[in-house]
């Protein structure tokens, strides 16, 4: 409130009065006369100019009120976090809490601890929200006593979260974070850290082998919760892990998507939870321009793919494919075209996967080709393009159907935290076209068509789409209602 007031009520015509003495005072401390003149000069200009300056229109300041990144809270200071954590946030350029952070943090940090089920769009700061909770709950005078456990569906995501905790907590003394993934915990010592991030299978093994003392765990976080609780294997594992933990533990469930049936289960899993759900029209990220490329046939997809990189400024990009074979083939072609490429799919071993993804994270390679392994959660902030080389499909009742959630999670790899992002889906035959149409209908997206015939025209079109991406009216996509 105070902050808003200061933004708005400062009367423009008073400013020069305040400024003049200050600036003049500074000038007079300068050591030569010429400079004084200059300063005066500056002040005079300031005087006349400021009297003409018009305050920024409030409509503009408030324009993003509905944006998931806008919370009305002007800094993290107001959330009562410790100084070390605040410094860590500033060091990574986190300046203001996003909506999910501003809303969820007070609830998660309040005592007695209450469970939480929170939904927010991809790339809006969910990870930071629960990481801040974890860092605030842990007692760092016991650095090797496990106090917080975070579960993620893949080793990549677990390592990523581990990295985020270490980054935000870089100024926190005695912070130890271990990754409970295959090969992540010493077999000799077991878990020796206050914060543990892991995949459910490994975590359960550790507990069973008595290498993970869970008696003083205070917080359990499950990221990508719908996916974790929904899948047969993962869901069971999560439940078994939970049953091994203290009853009093605070449970936090996070995801960008929460289909209804999962939500019901989640409510049982985390009883009496506070819930933050998305309004339906908020589901897709507005900053992502969604397009599709109309390819004449499957064989030409490779060449068209390479051409895309000249159409716009691209930082890093992710290409989702269906099979390992096509992943390898695309890699070959793109490397021939000068790109540095990482390919990541199930065939790679854990440690190797880490190295490949690290290359991509560190910017040593800028193209990541992957199967669905990485559709969820992976956050590389400079990803500015996502390509659905194949439309995501899933098996439902013995038939192949377009996979709505996966589409949403895939394109959510770009447009992180309000940045510009582009997604391009390739269609080349009736089947792929129909699948994409169904997805577009489902979310109510107006997909822009691109054609590979005239690259000058296509380039122009892409530029226009990117330019107008923020001006587009809100569509009303609706996962919750249409589900099932």
């Amino acid at each position: 409130m105070a902050d808003l007031a200061s933004r708005i009520t400062k009367p423009a015509d008073e400013t020069p009065v305040n400024d003049a003495p200050a600036a003049a005072g500074e000038a007079s401390t300068g050591n030569n006369g010429a400079e004084d003149n200059v300063e005066d000069d500056g002040v005079q200009r300031g005087l006349i100019e400021t009297s003409y300056e018009v305050e920024v229109k409030l409509a503009d300041l408030q324009a993003d009120k509905d944006s998931p990144l806008h919370s009305g809270i002007s800094s993290f200071d107001e959330l009562g976090l410790s100084r070390q954590i605040l410094d860590g946030l500033l060091a990574v350029n986190f300046k203001k809490p996003s909506k999910i952070q501003a809303r969820a943090l007070p609830l998660m940090l309040s005592d007695p601890p209450t469970n939480m089920i929170a939904q927010s769009q991809s790339g809006t700061g969910k990870t930071a929200a629960f990481v801040l909770t974890v860092l605030s709950r842990v007692d760092f005078s016991k650095p090797t006593q496990p106090q917080a456990l975070l579960l993620a569906p893949s080793r990549e995501l677990a390592r990523q979260i581990q990295g985020v905790i270490q980054t935000i907590g870089r100024f926190v003394d005695n912070l130890i974070v271990e990754a409970a993934i295959p090969g992540g915990i010493s077999r000799e010592t077991g878990v020796q850290s206050a914060v543990v991030v892991g995949t459910p299978g490994t975590v359960m093994d550790l507990i069973r082998r008595r290498q993970f003392n869970v008696s003083q765990l205070k917080v359990l976080v499950i990221d990508e919760a719908d996916n974790m609780l929904d899948q047969q294997g993962l869901g069971d594992q999560c439940l078994r892990v939970k049953n091994l933990l203290p009853r009093t533990i605070q449970i936090l469930l996070f995801s960008a998507t929460f289909p209804d049936k999962v939500l019901n289960y989640a409510r049982k899993f985390a009883p009496n939870a506070n819930e933050i759900k998305l309004r339906h029209q908020e589901l897709t990220v507005k900053g992502i321009s969604q397009m599709y490329m109309d390819c004449p046939d499957e064989a030409q997809k490779y060449d068209i793919l390479c051409k895309l990189y000249g159409l716009m400024t691209i930082g890093s990009s992710v290409i989702f494919v269906k099979t390992r074979e096509s992943a390898n083939e695309i890699q070959r072609r793109m490397e021939a075209d000068g790109h540095k490429v990482s390919v990541l799919h199930g065939a790679h071993e854990g440690q190797n996967r880490d190295a490949l993804l690290d290359d991509f994270r560190m910017g040593r390679s800028k193209v990541l080709i992957t199967t669905n392994v990485l559709a969820r959660g992976i956050d590389v902030s400079s990803v500015s393009m996502v390509i659905n080389y194949d439309i995501p499909m899933k098996m439902m009742r013995g038939r192949e159907e377009p996979d709505m959630e996966t589409y949403l999670h895939r394109i959510g790899r770009t447009g992180r935290f309000g940045r510009v992002g582009v997604s391009i889906s390739f269609v080349y035959d009736r089947k792929s076209f129909e699948a994409l149409s169904q997805i577009a209908d489902f979310y109510g997206i107006d997909l822009v068509q691109l054609s590979p015939d005239d690259w000058d025209a296509t380039e122009q079109k892409v530029q226009d789409v990117i330019k107008s991406s923020r001006a587009r009216p809100d569509y009303a996509p609706n996962v919750m209602d249409k589900k099932d």
Partner: protein, 551 residues
């Protein structure tokens, strides 16, 4: 007997604790005074006690929960109420603000007639120092002077200015280090760097300090010498920027009638954009971007050969100062093929776009682009009359990141935002997050271009480190009241990840500059903001991660 009494129901109330029902039994029981009986009754009482306590606890906890829920509910209501009130207030104030703006406008109109108004352009510190015509005067004869910016700033500017009193100590020792470091490193670069930045030029005469001062004069001239200049000479970079737009139009027009040009133009443009986008962080491995560099060079050479017969165009429209033919230069004519100039423009544009879009979120990605820019523009084939065409890139920088050139403004006013390069998208200011991202990318990009070491290269550095020093000086010399978050963000991005290079170039002087930038400058800011705080955190991080203590 023992079996008769424990039948007490757990649901019994405390009243049943007294043995009314079985008083007789009790009385007549043989063991009514036995110790066992006594113990038994004690036990029963204890259990009852526990039950009651548990029940009480449960009720208490429930109450707590209820209260907590109520509190949360209350909070929510309050929050909503607060939002509503605030919105109301904002609406109210919006009206007030509009009224006031209208009033100001009216007032302004009145004043407008008598006193000659300053041009709308002159912001805080206008034209970059390089515009000063005095520049050529600064023929760098002696290495010492060349290193002017490199060696230590004398304390001339405002006393509170660049370096606080404490900062002067390291400053004094700097020259020795600087002198030993720089001559070898910078001299070759500086020599050919003919349009030497005004800083050294004006500093040499102005401050008779033992060592010429890079910072002082830079800011001095940008504020003093250059300021009046800018009145008569409108910002040259802005002119160049306009000329570049005309160039683009002209080339597009030519393409309509020149099929050879049309067929190559788009492909070449996209190839350049792609190649710039493909540049990756080297991580100490040499040559990772060799292919891209060669590709860009070959495209530009192709354009220079002008096989597509694009029109020839005056190059002087795209450089800061007039140039005369230089002996031995590859391109000495007054004109060059427009497709070549166009592609240089596209290359510059691609670099800037990469800074904004990619380095904005990951500043470290600016470095390979900076290397590529310096390498490409310093290619002898792409020089004009012996000097690089980097002014085309700088003109873009001037437009998208004016604070690097000493421009200032309030982030709370329309004009202030326009002056500091806050972007508009479809008529609306972009969000603060986006703006700060852009500034981060551009600050990192600027550092990536200006902190290149050409000591081991035969080529001439198109944008030597003194430009970095000068830009930093222009920011840190801002009067306290004018310090903006934008400046802090740009400064942070310029410093972070480049501390080491900066120190390599400037030695102890760099430490003093860092101290000014990371400690004194944010401490001076009258308005605290996350951007200001973040600048201070950089110093903490340096201390923690590298052991570099500035404070």
């Amino acid at each position: 007997m023992a079996s008769s009494s424990p039948s007490r129901q757990p649901t019994n109330h405390w009243v049943n604790g007294s043995p009314q029902r079985s008083v007789l039994d009790e009385l007549y029981a043989e063991d009514r005074n036995s110790e066992a009986r006594h113990r038994y009754l004690l036990e029963v009482a204890k259990q009852e006690h526990e039950r009651v306590r548990k029940e009480a606890e449960r009720v208490y906890l429930e109450q707590l929960k209820r209260e907590e829920l109520q509190r949360i509910e209350e909070e929510r209501r309050k929050e909503q109420e607060r939002i509503r009130l605030e919105e109301e207030r904002i609406r109210h104030e919006e009206q007030l603000a509009a009224e006031r703006a209208r009033l100001n406008e009216l007032k302004a109109k009145k004043i407008e007639i008598p006193p000659p108004l300053p041009e709308p352009e002159p912001p805080a510190a206008p034209a970059p120092s390089r515009t000063t015509p005095a520049a050529p005067a600064a023929k760098q004869n002696e290495p010492v002077q060349i290193n002017g910016p490199a060696t230590k700033p004398a304390p001339p500017i405002q006393s509170g200015g660049l370096f606080g009193s404490s900062g002067l100590k390291p400053a004094a020792t700097a020259p020795s280090i600087g002198a030993s470091l720089f001559p070898s490193q910078l001299t070759p670069a500086a020599q050919s760097q003919l349009p030497p930045p005004a800083p050294p030029a004006s500093s040499v005469p102005a401050s008779t300090a033992p060592k010429p001062n890079g910072i002082g004069p830079a800011s001095e001239s940008s504020r003093s010498a250059a300021a009046p200049e800018a009145r008569t000479v409108p910002d040259r970079y802005i002119e160049i920027h306009k000329n570049l737009k005309l160039l683009r139009k002209s080339v597009m027009e030519q393409a309509k009638t020149n099929p050879a040009l049309k067929s190559r133009l788009g492909d070449m443009r996209r190839e350049i954009r792609k190649s710039v986008g493909q540049l990756t962080v080297a991580s100490g491995v040499a040559g990772v971007n060799k292919v891209q560099q060669q590709k860009i060079n070959s495209l530009l050479r192709e354009a220079l050969s002008n096989q597509v017969q694009s029109q020839l165009m005056e190059v002087s429209n795209f450089v800061l100062e007039p140039r005369n033919p230089v002996q031995g230069a590859v391109n000495n004519d007054a004109v060059l093929p427009s497709i070549f100039l166009y592609l240089i423009n596209i290359f510059a544009k691609a670099a800037i776009a990469q800074f904004i879009n990619e380095a904005g979120s990951r500043p470290e990605t600016a470095d390979p682009v900076g290397i590529c820019v310096a390498a490409t523009l310093s290619e002898p084939d792409f020089l004009w009359r012996g000097k690089s065409l980097i002014d085309m890139l700088l003109a873009k920088f001037r437009v998208v990141c004016p604070v690097l050139f000493g421009h200032r403004g309030s982030e709370k006013t329309e004009q202030g935002r326009a002056r500091i390069g806050w972007w508009k998208d479809c008529g609306r200011w972009v969000s603060e997050q986006q703006h700060m991202d852009r500034m981060t990318g551009l600050g990192a990009g600027f550092a990536a271009i200006s902190l290149r070491n050409f000591a081991h290269s035969k080529k001439t550095n198109p944008f030597p480190p003194r430009e970095y020093w000068a830009a930093m000086a222009r920011i840190v010399n801002t009067p306290a009241a004018d310090i903006s978050g934008t400046q802090c963000t740009v400064l942070k991005a310029m410093v972070e990840g480049y501390e080491q290079k900066f120190i390599e170039f400037y030695g102890t002087a760099a430490l003093a500059a860092l101290r000014t930038a990371l400690i004194e400058f944010p401490a001076r800011a009258t308005q605290r903001s996350p951007a200001v705080d973040a600048l201070q955190v950089v110093a903490q991080r340096l201390k923690r991660d590298t052991g570099l203590v500035l404070g």
